[in-house]
């Protein structure tokens, strides 16, 4: 539990990061550093975006999979880590690594 907290906090304290959120693939919010209504908004929209993008990549090439989404907007950058099946990875016990989505909002300041 505390490890989870630490992890999230570490990410959120990086320079430029305005918020960090974890959802599951149903859009249920597990953890967030942003305000509740905004997080709900993000949850709904990003899970949809993730699904859509994943399907697109899969259908174009079956062996391919979505690893990361970077949405650069005029005001900030939205980083979405949807998880993907790493066939050769040894630490995965379950086949599905797609249960959760991590979202980081950052204002890129060089």
């Amino acid at each position: 539990m505390s490890e989870v907290e630490d992890l999230i906090k570490k990410i959120a304290n990086q320079r430029g990061v305005t918020g960090c959120m974890v959802f599951n693939n149903q859009g249920i919010i597990i953890r967030t550093t942003l305000e509740q209504s905004l997080t709900i908004h993000y949850a709904a929209l990003i899970t949809q975006l993730c699904n859509h993008t994943k399907n697109t990549v899969k259908k174009l090439d079956d062996g391919d999979d979505l690893t990361f989404i970077r949405l650069r907007t005029t005001k900030n950058e939205i980083l979405v880590a949807p998880g993907f099946s790493r066939i050769f990875s040894s630490h995965l016990s379950s086949l599905s690594d797609r249960d959760y989505i991590l979202v980081v909002i950052q204002v890129p300041v060089v």
């Binding site: 953890r31 709900i40 998880g83 249960d99 991590l102």
Partner: protein, 654 residues
């Protein structure tokens, strides 16, 4: 007529067997044709009967119900929770969350994701991957073909009345919004049921207007306040100025009282750049310009009458331009009589308030505007041409070739100093380039050429132009980049072109004056013996010596000098005009502003005649000087000469 045949039989004979006998036909009654009646009737031999072997048809029209799209939003509340959990109870939610977090899988997955995210975050911090290199380096401007595409069309919600979109104002901040004033300015075409509302539109929603403004009489001009873009000023057809705040509703929140307002439609209302942002000016065809302060709307702060200085006739204003670059009190007015005036509000005497007018147009001047980059130059749009002027000269420097239809509106591009946009009565929208002095684009805007354009307004970004048609539709054009982006040397190029034209025009003037002077000289030398009086020689002498002289002059030449003088004095000006026109056409072929130059010359002549000519010697001397010196200084020289003449006259009298 009864046909009766009595049949009788004796009673004692009843019962007897009938004996039938054959009896021949007997005419019982006959009705012969009446010949006399026949005379009363004519026989008609042939009666035409129309027959058509075509299936019967009837006409019906039907329209499907118009679907009115409207925009709705949907709110997403929390969802996705499994069935057994009630989203409203935060405890159960928290339990669920904790359960998830305890799952070891969760941590593993989160770790991997966190790693990738962190690396990306660091990447963003170290390098701007979207950095534009050479952003200040201007690409070689490939002049892509000038194009203006119609982005949106706002149709009048009441199309049957054929209102004109008379004036359009872009919202100063929201780049997609504009307000439009609808009215019909054709004489006596307003009907009782003409809808008098004006509308505000947004480009993103071309089918429905944003909101309406309800004035008491149709609006002819409209403008947003610079400081507070919630305030809209509208000038009405009946001369009243009204103010709206769309947040407060569609009724005006203030209006000027009828007694002190204009008597004619307000053609242009303009907000002034003042500290308070509450001042506005209105111009109308009743010949006045009024300034108002929105805080005290019961009477105008100031009022000015438009007078033609030369003959003191009243002028009707049809357009106005208030250029803050020239100063807060200077402005230009275009009039119905075709004259353009440059006025100064703060001038001390009323004489200085309105300068002598700029002649040129033969019809109402619908638009006048100073060039936003070089404010000494301005353009005016009216009759069939666009004319470019400079402050110093009373006649136009450049005049476009006359078009086949009237021009109804014009404006400079706010971002490109060389472009001028015009709207025409046949529904065309033109773009004129000052540097090449040609029309570079001409496009049909309205559906048919008999629907003209009545308004044109460029957005301050220079990219979008709204043109209003006489059917009430507003067309939004988007310009290609080459038409709205300024190139490096453009500002100086335009300045050079305009200055060159101005110089040329000044030279032309100077040349004409020199020529006049020469003739007068020559005439004086010839006809010097004839009239002792200093006044006559130039008048009569001029006429007799000119080659193309007309019969009148020769006839009059035989009369005594005194009577000649008396009779000819009033004719002098008229005849001289004609003479000079002939001369001009001969001498100055290459310049096509001969006519206009004449009108202005006439003005100059009147001034000269009033000043009086004097001694031949002095004339000859000055004439000689004038000839020697170059054309450029000609104008100054002329001014100097006139001053000298005046001085010498004073000496003579003494």
């Amino acid at each position: 007529m009864d046909i009766i045949f009595p049949y009788s039989r004796k009673r004692k004979e009843f019962g007897k067997h009938c004996t039938f006998t054959v009896q021949g036909p007997e005419t019982v009654w006959e009705d012969r044709p009446n010949q006399s009646r026949k005379q009363k009737y004519d026989v008609i031999k042939m009666i035409p009967v129309a027959v058509q072997a075509v299936p019967q048809k009837s006409e019906h029209d039907c329209n499907t119900e118009i679907v009115v799209p409207s925009q709705r939003g949907m709110m997403h509340l929390e969802g996705g929770w499994p069935k057994d959990i009630d989203p409203t109870q935060p405890d159960s939610l928290n339990m669920f969350r904790k359960k998830v977090e305890r799952d070891e899988n969760f941590l593993l997955q989160l770790l991997s994701r966190a790693n990738s995210s962190t690396s990306v975050v660091n990447q963003n911090l170290s390098l701007d991957i979207y950095q534009t290199y050479f952003s200040d380096y201007q690409a070689d401007v490939k002049e892509d073909a000038p194009k203006a595409t119609i982005q949106a069309v706002f149709r009048d919600p009441f199309p049957h009345q054929r209102r004109w979109a008379k004036n359009i104002a872009w919202h100063p901040e929201i780049k997609t919004r504009l307000a439009a004033a609808y009215s019909i300015l054709k004489f006596q075409s307003t009907s009782a049921d003409l809808p008098i509302a004006s509308h505000v539109w947004d480009i993103n929603n071309p089918n429905n207007r944003l909101y309406d403004l309800h004035p008491t009489s149709p609006l002819c001009s409209i403008q947003y306040n610079f400081k507070d873009s919630n305030i809209i000023a509208g000038g009405c057809y009946n001369g009243v100025l009204q103010l709206w705040d769309p947040r407060k509703g569609s009724q005006p929140y203030d209006k000027t009282p009828l007694e002190v307002s204009h008597h004619d439609p307000i053609y242009k209302v303009q907000w002034l750049q003042s500290k308070t942002g509450t001042e506005c000016a209105t111009v109308s065809s009743d010949g006045t310009v009024k300034w108002w302060d929105t805080r005290h709307f019961d009477k105008p702060v100031e009022q000015m009458d438009l007078l033609n200085k030369l003959d003191m006739s009243k002028l009707n204003g049809t357009s106005m331009d208030y250029d803050p670059a020239q100063g807060p009190s200077k402005f230009m007015i275009g009039t119905e009589q075709g004259l353009v005036l440059s006025c100064n509000r703060k001038a001390k005497t009323s004489a200085e308030k309105v300068t002598p007018p700029f002649f040129g147009h033969i019809g109402p001047v619908y638009s006048v505007q100073r060039n936003p980059f070089h404010s000494r130059f301005f353009m005016s749009v009216g009759d069939w041409t666009v004319k470019l002027w400079i402050d110093d000269l009373r006649s136009p420097m450049i005049s476009t070739p006359s078009d086949s239809v009237y021009l109804s509106a014009g404006q400079w591009s706010p971002t490109k100093p060389s472009l001028l946009f015009t709207a025409k009565e046949n529904g065309y929208f033109d773009i004129y380039d000052v540097i090449t002095q040609k029309f570079i684009l001409s496009q049909q805007v309205t559906e048919t050429p008999n629907i003209g354009l009545s308004a044109l307004e460029v957005q301050n970004t220079g990219k979008l132009i709204a043109t209003g048609g006489k059917n009430g539709s507003i067309y939004i054009h988007e310009l290609s980049d080459s038409l709205c982006q300024i190139t490096d040397t453009e500002k100086t190029d335009v300045l050079n072109v305009l200055e060159r034209e101005a110089k040329r025009e000044k030279n032309v003037d100077a040349r004409k004056k020199e020529q006049q002077l020469k003739e007068r000289q020559a005439a004086k030398l010839e006809g010097g013996g004839g009239g002792g009086d200093a006044r006559t020689p130039s008048a009569s002498g001029n006429r007799t010596s000119t080659p193309g002289g007309f019969g009148v002059s020769e006839g009059l030449g035989t009369m005594g000098s005194q009577t000649q003088q008396a009779l000819e004095r009033p004719k002098t000006k008229a005849s001289r005009k004609v003479v000079e026109e002939e001369e001009d056409e001969d001498a100055i072929d290459e310049i096509d502003e001969g006519e206009l130059g004449d009108v202005e010359k006439e003005f100059m002549e009147k001034v000269k005649v009033d000043e009086d000519e004097e001694d031949e010697e002095e004339q000859a001397q000055e004439g000689g000087e004038g000839e020697e010196e170059g054309g450029e200084e000609g104008e100054e020289e002329e001014g100097g000469e006139e001053g000298e003449e005046g001085g010498e006259e004073g000496e003579e009298e003494q």
